[in-house]
Symmetry: C2
Subunit: 204 residues, 2 copies
């Protein structure tokens, strides 16, 4: 069984990352988003092991101490993180794992899993980004400005990624994501073990 | 203008490489097969600069002495080669260039143009390969055996390539080739210059 690959996908809010990743995974049985750990309270309807692994703060901090995370972050009073064991189990089963994380998480993952493939998604224009950040609710200009600042500081790190996609036309962007995933599976390193028998019979 | 990329595509005879490459280029205005130089006599209907650049043996040997070739080979009494100037002109114009060459040519090119992307195409089975080698004409078993030997010694070098494709279903193999080409265009190094204005306006 060929090991799966790890994909790290980042984008500013408003770039349409989650819709793209969901569509990517929906059409690919061998690709799935890795389920994160969090200390935030479970909301009605959320399923443990599907939405998140819900754990206590002390447990999360113990996992940090044990270096059990590929990446984690503290957002206000809650922790969010990707357990190394979650990802390694997927990869060992031949599944590709997708992490939807920010540039800081991506940096941590790249250090621990240098073979990961990282993709950054950009919105098609400043105007679209502002609109998408505004459309979420009826927010004050100050709130929008703060979100825009956060988006800009996320986008400032695009050059640290392997691939760059602009989400202008959703289907085009989705096809580009799919082409990237398909292409990683065609490398000699990934194909040779899978084609072992064919190659032996051709060269025999 | 972003520089084009150089693709090196190899396969044993009978793997269907030329049909795949032709179909790949037909759908892509920014991708073309590089026209080789040769000393073999021009055949009726062949167009210089389209089928080959036809040159005299002395001229070809002068070009070898001047290191004007990315790769060349002597086949019986004729020379065939890829002029560095031909490829560099294409790449500078933003075109991707495709070289259909054997593993020995591929090795020469990789040394001179390490940024090239190399792809090896395999036939789907030993039986199909034998059939395809036989179908060409009514050949003696000895001739077929010699072709099979040549095919095997070509295939023995598949592991030197970046990507490996099996040409079982033609359209599937073509889509895989297209995904590889599309993906190279999505790398940050290729996208960032093309998206310079968008990025400036997003970060500005």
């Amino acid at each position: 069984m060929t090991q799966g690959l790890l994909y790290v996908i980042s984008a500013p809010s408003g770039a349409g990352k989650t819709s793209l990743v969901n569509a990517l995974c929906a059409g690919a049985p061998d690709l799935a988003v890795s389920v994160s750990h969090t200390t935030r309270p479970r909301r009605p309807g959320e399923v443990p092991g599907q939405d998140y692994w819900f754990v206590e703060k002390t447990e999360f901090e113990q996992m940090i101490a044990n270096k059990a995370f590929l990446e984690y972050a503290r957002v206000f009073d809650n922790y969010y993180g990707t357990a190394r064991a979650t990802v390694e189990k997927m990869l060992a089963a031949g599944l590709d794992a997708v992490l939807e994380i920010d540039w800081q998480g991506a940096r941590q993952v790249r250090q621990l899993m240098p073979a990961c493939v990282s993709i950054f998604i950009l919105p098609p224009s400043r105007e679209t980004l502002e609109q998408r950040l505004r459309c979420r609710q009826q927010d004050s200009d100050a709130v929008i400005a703060r979100r825009m600042e956060a988006a800009i500081s996320e986008m400032a790190h695009y050059a640290e990624y392997d691939y760059l996609i602009v989400n202008d036309d959703f289907n085009l962007a989705l096809n580009q994501l799919r082409a990237i995933v398909q292409t990683q599976r065609l490398t000699v390193q990934r194909q040779a073990p899978r084609l072992e028998r064919l190659i032996a019979s051709l060269l025999g």
